[in-house]
Symmetry: C2
């Protein structure tokens, strides 16, 4: 037990260091040696936990993505009405993106880069299903526009990534009011107009 615990701690430290360094310097400028140093570990030790650098980054991606979706759906129940369900999920996602900034930044970087291999990317998408199901229900009930999931995502969820990035960069600081405005815009763009 103690051994296993210790191992998990080290693995977590490595993943955390990877996120922080990749966020600040980019993949191209984060050597294994720095990751090791930040995690208080010898470079050689990394290879006890991960196959190589690519594997480390892939696994970090999958881990963070899983945290993200877990957070998003934590309080969601698939029997909720469509509108309420969407609002709930949207706000959880917003919460994650704006509070767990490090994690969200890392995902944004991975999602726009050939840094992650196709297989891990696929793996990362899996857990988004509840949202897709909700949208399907919304379309059937005539509450949500009959657009593809991709379009709905592009208009209602993806903008949060952009907002997160510029907030991190210090260009804006979203308060409660602005967040509510952002939510209304998101909803406007996907709800079926009467």
């Amino acid at each position: 037990m103690a051994k296993l615990q210790k191992s998990i701690d080290k693995r977590n430290a490595l993943i955390k260091a990877t996120i922080e360094l990749v966020n600040n310097n980019g993949f191209h400028a984060t050597p294994m040696s720095k990751i090791a140093k930040m995690a208080n570990v010898s470079p050689a030790t990394i290879y006890l936990y991960f196959e190589n650098k690519q594997d480390l980054v892939n696994q970090t991606y999958i881990e963070v993505k899983a945290e993200y979706t877990k957070y998003a759906f934590k309080t969601y129940d698939k029997n909720m009405p469509v509108k309420a369900g969407f609002e709930l999920i949207w706000k959880r996602i917003a919460d994650f993106k704006l509070k767990e900034c490090e994690n969200a930044m890392f995902l944004a970087q991975c999602d726009n880069t050939p840094m992650i291999d196709a297989h891990s990317r696929q793996e990362g998408i899996k857990h988004l299903q509840p949202l897709l199901d909700l949208w399907e229900r919304g379309r059937q009930e005539g509450i949500i526009k009959p657009l593809s999931n991709y379009l709905l995502y592009a208009y209602s969820i993806n903008p949060l990534s952009f907002l997160m990035i510029i907030q991190k960069r210090g260009d804006i600081q979203l308060n409660k009011v602005q967040l509510e405005e952002a939510y209304q815009s998101a909803w406007s763009s996907i709800k079926q107009c009467e």
Copy 2:
């Protein structure tokens, strides 16, 4: 004249090669030697045109960003009505993102990465002013929601980046109809509801 022309051709070839390689392999996996090879030039020659790798990437970014905004505003006239002006600019941007896919992909990667230095990023934003002015006018006329430029951009323009990426990845193929839908969503999310 002949000399200058030749130089510009080489510079362009280098920039083109940089875009293509960074798009396909990421910054971290595009060595100067490959860029040189793709541009049919010796590695040493790159340093006659650019200070170093960072400078090459920064200048490529600025160049592509300038192309992007030039394209976006090509047929826009600042005396147009707000709604028509927005539709025009939006559709030009969509055109650019979906047709000049290579260029747009490169920008997306740069914009979510510490690949580009802050100064060059600043430089790249400059040319967006006509759109910001249009929005200001729209807010004053009560046609556009009283949101910050960042929010308006996040909801009406940024989704195109996401759509472009998934189209490049082969997940969707936007036709005329879907593009019109996307436009309507964009407009819905920023227009003042009556």
